[in-house]
């Protein structure tokens, strides 16, 4: 086991997150409990679970934005304190600074790191070109489409060359076509430098199409991993084509059986609450 421990770029070690009770007299809400999770070097890991189960919560813990109630986060074996400087985070919602143009958004992280303005600008331009937006450097976020904004956010994160890429349902707000384009672009960018990725989604097909490994989470409260599946589909992949392959269907059926029980359980719970 020691060899995998060395290999793990990021690991959550028995992480529990409890939110304070919403009203007096009620007990606190334990969103995730005792979750251990490891991401290997260059591994593309997807975490799938029903909405509201605590996926974003776990990712925020991994990013150092949220301190767990119990447990710890290890980054390349070292215990994380404060913001995870090795990680880039692609958020579910709109995260670009609306008052800065696309280029200024991409530059920002470099300027924070003390890179000279001219060099920062050049690297930002290069990354805008890589995500196909070299003509839109001067546009403000509100002048760009949803897909273009996601591309800017991707460039903004990747320009810093993070060792770990945390992605929280990054494409869930996009239409199906744009989403497939973005997924393929993501795979292409990823294959060129093989960073470790933690990709959060509630869409099992998306998870299988993109990943090396899929971890399933149970429904909340007290969410924990309930399944860990290796995805042995060949790379490079095209997300649209791979979905048509027989091996994809096999994997999908296999994993879906495990997931369905949880989805039904979550559904029954929400019905019970309503």
């Amino acid at each position: 086991m020691s060899s995998t421990e060395v290999e793990a770029v990021l690991s959550l070690d028995r992480v529990t997150v409890a939110w304070p009770a919403p009203r007096k007299g009620e007990s606190e809400y334990v969103a995730v409990e005792d979750v251990s999770l490891e991401v290997g070097r260059g591994e593309f890991l997807s975490v799938v679970g029903p909405t509201g189960c605590g996926k974003s919560t776990l990712l925020n813990v991994a990013a150092g934005l949220l301190a767990p109630s119990a447990g710890s986060v290890l980054v390349s074996g070292e215990r994380l304190q404060g913001i995870n400087r090795r990680a880039g985070y692609l958020f579910q919602g709109e995260a670009l600074m609306p008052w800065r143009s696309a280029r200024e958004n991409v530059e920002a992280g470099l300027l924070f790191a003390g890179v000279a303005p001219r060099a920062a600008r050049e690297r930002a331009e290069a990354w805008l070109a890589r995500v196909g937006l070299s003509r839109f450097g001067d546009s403000y976020p509100h002048q760009l489409s949803g897909g273009m904004r996601k591309r800017v956010a991707l460039a903004q994160t990747l320009v810093l060359e993070p060792r770990i890429l945390l992605m929280d349902e990054p494409f869930s707000a996009l239409d199906v076509q744009t989403r497939q384009l973005m997924e393929n672009e993501l795979l292409e960018l990823w294959s060129s430098d093989r960073r470790s990725v933690v990709f959060i989604t509630h869409d099992l097909e998306e998870a299988i199409a993109l990943s090396d490994r899929v971890v399933l989470l149970s429904a909340g409260p007290r969410t924990r991993p309930i399944g860990d599946f290796r995805i042995d589909l060949p790379r490079p992949r095209d997300v649209a084509e791979i979905r048509a392959s027989p091996r994809f269907s096999e994997l999908h059926v296999h994993i879906w059986r495990a997931l369905r029980a949880e989805v039904l359980r979550a559904y029954a719970q929400s019905e019970g609450r309503a």
Partner: protein, 266 residues
């Protein structure tokens, strides 16, 4: 003004403008008719053509310019100082939960107080010159800007904030890259009101005791029961306020390019 836009479409811009001018002329002649036919006493309501003549004379002789200049300087200084203080206080309190909790009732009280009442005190403290008018204007502008910045700081998108922190921003860089621009947009949203308030502060201050400014002209004319000059002063003030508002609009367009604006073409 969506209604104005609908009318725009129905009538066409030229016809609408013509109607608007016509309305102004009609009111003017109604006023003129009522006064000359002695339904209204000229002593209290003025004579429209004399009022216009007075305004003309002021500009022709150049007598009005130094007074307009003084009022303008007071307005600009009050606006600048009030905005600066408001932004600083709003940022500071917005980022410090303890301090804001401590000061909240006092800020509310200070804002609820009718501050025009401070004018005589400021006259005693700062004399009858520009400073007392600026001080009055500052108390009016400060709270508008302060509350907007305070709001702006608290309503910064948590996602943007988390994202910028993940990009490696230090607390100071967070202020510069996120809080300040966000607050600025809120300051701009209140720009028309705060410039207007700076102007009110200047004129009211002048009116309550001064040696120069358009408010002073009105005060003087009132002292000698010269109602025509009072109306002329009001007319000049109104025109000046419209001009200021227009300048603000132009500046706003320049500086807030990043903001989505309804109906603007991209």
């Amino acid at each position: 003004m969506p209604r104005a836009k609908a009318a725009h479409r129905e009538l066409g811009p030229a016809a609408l403008l013509a109607l608007r001018v016509l309305l102004l002329v009609a009111i003017f002649f109604l006023w003129y008719g009522l006064v000359t036919l002695r339904f209204l006493p000229a002593f209290f309501f003025g004579r429209p053509f004399v009022v216009l003549e007075r305004v003309g004379q002021w500009f022709a002789s150049g007598k009005i310019y130094p007074h307009l200049g003084v009022t303008l300087i007071e307005t600009v200084l009050a606006f600048a100082a009030g905005t600066l203080l408001g932004v600083a206080a709003g940022l500071w309190l917005g980022l410090r939960a303890m301090a804001s909790a401590l000061l909240e009732p006092y800020i509310k009280a200070a804002n609820a107080m009718p501050r025009v009442i401070l004018a005589p005190i400021f006259a005693v403290w700062f004399g009858l010159g520009i400073a007392s008018k600026v001080a009055l204007g500052v108390t009016l502008v400060f709270f508008i800007v302060f509350f907007n910045v305070y709001q702006g700081v608290r309503e910064v998108s948590p996602t943007v904030l988390a994202s910028v922190r993940m990009l490696g921003a230090s607390p100071r860089q967070l202020v510069r890259y996120v809080y300040l621009p966000s607050a600025t947009s809120w300051v701009f949203s209140s720009l028309h009101t705060s410039v207007g308030m700076a102007f009110v502060g200047a004129v009211v201050g002048e009116y309550l005791g001064s040696a120069a400014g358009v408010g002073y002209l009105i005060l003087q004319a009132e002292g000698s029961f010269d109602i025509d000059t009072v109306f002329a002063g009001i007319l000049v003030l109104t025109g000046f306020a419209l001009l200021l508002d227009y300048v603000v609009t132009v500046i706003e367009r320049r500086l807030l390019v990043w903001m989505p604006r309804a109906g603007r073409r991209e």
